[in-house]
Structures are given as C-alpha cells and as structure tokens.
C-alpha cells in the first residue's frame, strides 16, 4: 500500500493556479524529491499534503485514508521547515518534546524518545541550550529531531537546507541520507537544488508550472530525459543545446549543425529516418566529451576538431568552452587533457548519450 497517493490534485490561490492536476504515488519507505524552479508548485504541493493549504480538487490519501478534510495534526505527518521554526523561548529539549507534549505522551516516554532522537543527530550536549545559542546547522538538526521523535508515517521536508552555507549543506545532506537509511521512513523532500535531488532521491519528481514534467529514478531522468526542460534542469554544468537538422547519413541518421559539422547518430536512432531534414536541438552533456575515444560508452563516438575559447580549471577537472555549430559549448575534461585558449584539439562526443529534441514541443525524440 502506498504511504501517499495523490489523485488529480488542483490548487489555486485566488485565480492563480499553483498545482494543475497532479497524480503521484509514493510507496512506503521511499525518499521522493519534489524538485523544480521557483514557482513550479512544489512547496504548494507539499503544504497541501501537510494540510496547511486546501486543495480545490483531487484527493490525498495517506496510509490508505483520504485526508483532504483532516487537520494537519491528524494526518500522521511530521514536517521540517526551511527556517527551522524553532520556538525561541524554549530550550532544545522542550523544542523537540513539543509535539509529544501536545499529544499528551507520558513524561517518561518523552524523555526516552527525545534523548534517542538527540543521540541519532548528535545534539545530546545541546539539550539545555536555547535556539539563539545554536549555529544554523545545529538548529536544523533540532528541527529534524523534532520531526523524527514523533514516529510519523510521512516525513515532509520543505527546502530544509536552503538557509545553510555550501559546506554545511553538504554535511546535512549526508545526515539526511543516513537518517533515511536508519529510519526507513517515507520522506518527501522539496528542493530547488538539483544536486540535492540527485544525491538524496530514490525517486525524483520534476515539476514545472504546476505539473509533473517527469518522474523516475535520478539516473532515469539524467540519462533518459523526456523533455528539453528535464534535460536542462538536471546535471551540472548544464547540458549543451545546439540547434541542428536531422540528415540521412548513408547507413543511418546524423545531425547536421549550423556550421556544417555532421555528427552521426548511433544505429538505434534509425527510427528518426522519417524526419530527415527536420529542425531539431541536439543535447549533449559536458561530461560526454572526451579526448580518448576508448573512454566513451561504446561505438557511436563522433570526432570533432574544436578551437578552445575558454578554460575553467577546478582542480582535477577543467571546463573548456568552444564554439560548435555556432553555439558556445562546454565540455568537462580531466585537467591534464585541457589545453590553452586559442589551441585546437581533437574531441570525441559520445553520441550514444546525446539526446535529440523537437524544438517545437520540447519533447525528446
């Protein structure tokens, strides 16, 4: 039985639609990440699941029960907020125990459960402190502690790491992943950060304009994006998009770029032969270029000769930018493979991994 099942959900703020018809099923124990750009409706969806917003249409089922008209506290959920939402007038112990006290839990049990949660998060030595005496990371741990102490069926996270600096965010991300492994609870996590989505999720639900653009495992969305939007959203640095035309290539298909460069498509793309001459967008990730043909995923490497415009070293790797088909394209190489700006080098593009996109609808062909 799915821990969460959403059918046909619609939510409007006045006349402005925020969620425009969402169906989602989350099996028990899964870590689902709702990700998307600002305004896509992910926070609204989460808050509607929590009961802090009311949906105009559709049903929300938690643990098999329809909860549309239930108050947040009856929905068997726990929530972690972006701004921690710690009560400044209570110490850490009282903050964590707050929900248990509200539900009239026996005092001895409160003590045990709070201490266990604190141990799990490494904040046992902070139980006497007030929130203002804690750092950002510590406050977030307390907020998480307050959620996990309640043994709820569903855990909701609303961009919990957005307020932390980059290093702390990396630490807390690992914490949350570890917690999920230890507790095995169903977690729904909202973020705009695609790295958080990729590293934490069992399943990613990518939202755009109030609708689900694509849902699947992180690798699914990364390797087999369904649309231009998905292809461009996940992956850092962003996928390169180059305008091109489909062309017959003797034995198979190829894409011809604006500057005449022709890149052959591997054999399994023969299905595109009916569309020869059609304008498309070629999508290829910076990671799918290499100086060494043997490194690529199989036959289907296209050889290129490119003139480097820009080099951005990051230590072990380097990002080089070069014009291809009239568009600036970025490739990620090992640092020792990169040359200087102005030099021309040979590159292999992994056409097995490339995607061909219909520029009209944005769908991947």
């Amino acid at each position: 039985m799915a821990d969460l099942k959403i059918t046909g959900l619609h939510k409007r703020y006045g006349h402005v639609p925020a969620v425009r018809g969402i169906d989602l099923e989350v099996p028990s124990g899964e870590f689902t990440v709702l990700v998307g750009p600002s305004g896509c409706g992910k926070s609204t969806l989460l808050r509607t699941i929590a009961g802090l917003e009311e949906a105009q249409e559709g049903t929300i089922e938690i643990g098999g029960r329809v909860v549309n008209h239930m108050r947040p506290r009856d929905r068997d959920i726990a929530m972690v907020f972006q701004n921690y939402a710690l009560y400044p007038f209570m110490n850490v112990f009282e903050n964590i125990a707050f929900g248990l006290r509200a539900r009239k839990t026996p005092v001895a049990e409160i003590e045990t459960r709070v201490r266990r949660a604190a141990d799990m998060l490494g904040i046992t030595n902070l139980l006497d402190r007030l929130p203002r005496q804690l750092s950002g990371g510590q406050r977030q741990r307390v907020a998480i502690g307050r959620a996990i102490v309640r043994n709820a069926r569903l855990f909701l996270f609303d961009e919990p790491l957005s307020n932390l600096d980059a290093q702390l965010r990396d630490e807390m991300r690992s914490e949350i992943k570890r917690l999920h492994q230890e507790l095995g609870r169903t977690m729904i996590y909202v973020t705009h950060d695609q790295i958080e989505a990729m590293t934490l999720a069992d399943r990613i639900v990518l939202l755009k304009d109030g609708l689900i653009e694509q849902a699947g495992s992180p690798l699914d969305l990364y390797e087999r994006p369904a649309t231009h939007f998905v292809a461009g959203f996940l992956g850092s640095p962003r996928m390169n998009f180059i305008p091109a035309k489909l062309a017959g290539n003797g034995t198979g298909m190829a894409v011809r770029l604006a500057d005449g460069t022709t890149l052959p498509l591997p054999g399994n793309r023969a299905g595109l032969s009916a569309s020869a001459g059609r304008a498309v967008t070629l999508g290829i990730r910076p990671q799918h270029f290499s100086r060494d043909a043997a490194q690529l995923s199989g036959p289907g490497a296209a050889q290129l000769s490119v003139k480097i415009e820009l080099v951005q070293p990051t230590g072990a790797r380097a990002f080089i930018t070069f014009p291809l088909g009239g568009t600036p394209v970025m490739a990620e190489l090992a640092a020792h493979d990169a040359r200087e700006p102005g030099e021309t080098i040979d590159l292999y593009a992994d056409m097995n991994r490339a995607v061909v996109i219909d520029p009209e609808g944005g769908k991947v062909l």
Binding site: L52, R73, A78, M79, F81, Y87, P88, F89, A102, R150
Partner: protein, 283 residues
C-alpha cells in the same frame, strides 16, 4: 589679518557643548519631575508646612497623618475600586482583544475593512458618548455598579488592544504556528503555547497602557457612579471644597493613586521598552 576659526581648541568646544546639553537635560528633568516631587512631599507635610512661605522644600519630619486620615471613612478604598475596575477590564480586554487580533491576522476575518473600522472606534471622544451611555445604563440598571464600568472600560480598550496586538502577531513567523499545527496543536493551543509567549513583550506593553487608560479615567467614573463604586480619580475631586481645599488629603490620595501604576511600570519596565520598540520597527 585672516579671519580664522575661534581660538578655542576643539576639545574645549566639545566640552562646552556637552556641558550645555547636560544642563538642558537636567533642567527638563527638574521641570517634569518637580510637580511629582512636590506632590509627594506635600503628602508628608503638616498643613502649616503646606502653606508656608518661603516654601518648605523638605518637611521637618515625614507626617503620615494625611494618609491615615484616608482610611477610616473608606476614602482609601476607592483606590481598591480603581484597581478592580482597571484590572478586570484590562485582563478581559487583553484576552478578547488578542483573540480578535489573531483572527484578523491569521484568518483575515472581515478583510481590511473590519480592522480599520475597529480602530476607528478609538477616534470617538469619550465625552461625546458619556451621556448616551448614562441613559443606557440607567435603562439596564448598571449605574454605580462594578460590572457596568468594567464593561465600559473593556469596550473602550478593545480597539486599542486589537490594533496593537495585530501588529505584534503579524511579526510572529507563520512557520512557528504551522509547525505547532503539524506537531499536534489545536488553534487554541497554538494561541496559548506559541502566540502568547512570542508576543509577550507586546502583551505587557499593551496591557500597561490599557490599564493606565482605565486607571486614569475620570469622565466615565464621574457620570456613571454614585456612592458604591467611587474611583480614586473621582474621590480626589471631593476634597476640593467651595471655600477651602483639603490639600493634605488631595496630595495623599493622589500619591496613593499614582503608586500602583508606578510599581507596575517599574517592574515591567524591560518588557515595556522592548514592546514599544518592537511595535515601532517592522520586519
């Protein structure tokens, strides 16, 4: 000969300006505090000392007779009346007003119009409605009763309390309440466990001003009471006679009347300052 800066060196100029500022400050303090000091001293003077010329700045000995005289005939009991009336109306107004303010802020009850209408009630000058209210009270049989004045003071304080608490509640991050709702609180528990503690400074500041308004009221107490529920403000006026005034009683009564508010503000001082400044700076 060049026109140069005054020959006074910079440091001395600063010293003179500072001394001047202190002088003005001290003068202002004297001007504001002197009447209180005089009143205080007068309550401890003998009648002879009160009318002495040149004025007696400090009595030879502190006489308590003026105070003692207030007790046998129940004059001092009027201070208790004031305490009951102001205290009860403040408590009721604070509870009802804060709940109303919460409703206005979180549930947007009545939209913007209701909020403005409520504060507009405060614009009514009391003297304009005191006689219609009197007639109403005669009809209800509420003249010269405790509940009559408590209801009136509460009604008059509510717009102020609602307006002030609205501001303080708006400053409470919504996430705190949402977190409490998810954790298991009802709205009432959220109000009691989250809103009240968070708005504590604002609550105290508003309560003190509400109390002071009711405490100092004269016009309603004068018109709506007779003998049973005399407040200290009205009682003081009884000492102004046609031919002479009982200055010792006037001063002693006034001091007694000022004392409770003095103590309240002194003890709640730190909440007061925080509450006032919190209301001033938004966001």
């Amino acid at each position: 000969m060049t026109a140069a800066l005054p020959a006074v060196p910079m440091m001395r100029r600063k010293g003179v300006r500072l001394a001047l500022r202190y002088l003005i400050a001290v003068l202002l303090v004297i001007v504001f505090l002197f009447p209180i000091y005089w009143l205080f001293m007068m309550s401890f003077k003998t009648p002879g000392e009160i009318f002495a010329y040149p004025p007696v700045w400090y009595p030879k000995s502190l006489q308590l007779k003026s105070y003692i005289d207030l007790f046998p005939n129940g004059d001092a009991a009027t201070v208790l009346n004031s305490l009951i009336l102001a205290g009860a109306s403040t408590v009721i107004a604070m509870i009802l007003g804060t709940m109303a303010a919460y409703s206005l802020v979180r549930f947007k009850t009545g939209g913007e119009n209701l909020a403005v209408w409520i504060i507009s009630q405060r614009m009514v000058p009391p003297i304009a409605i005191v006689f219609p209210v009197f007639l109403l009270y005669v009809f209800f049989g509420w003249v010269d009763t405790y509940h009559g004045l408590i209801i009136l003071y509460t009604a008059f304080s509510l717009p102020y309390v609602i307006w002030m608490m609205r501001g303080y509640i708006e400053d409470i991050p919504l996430e705190l309440e949402e977190s409490a709702l998810v954790d298991g609180c009802s709205r009432w528990r959220v109000l009691w466990r989250v809103v009240f503690p968070m708005a504590r400074s604002g609550l105290f500041a508003t309560a003190v001003f509400t109390f002071i308004f009711a405490w100092n009221d004269f016009i309603f107490a004068l018109v709506l009471t007779r003998t049973e529920v005399t407040t200290y403000t009205v009682q003081v006026t009884h000492y102004f006679g046609g031919q002479s005034n009982f200055w010792s009683k006037i001063s002693a009564m006034s001091v007694l009347g000022t004392l409770p508010v003095f103590i309240a503000v002194a003890t709640l001082q730190r909440y007061l300052v925080r509450g006032i400044s919190m209301g001033a700076v938004k966001g």
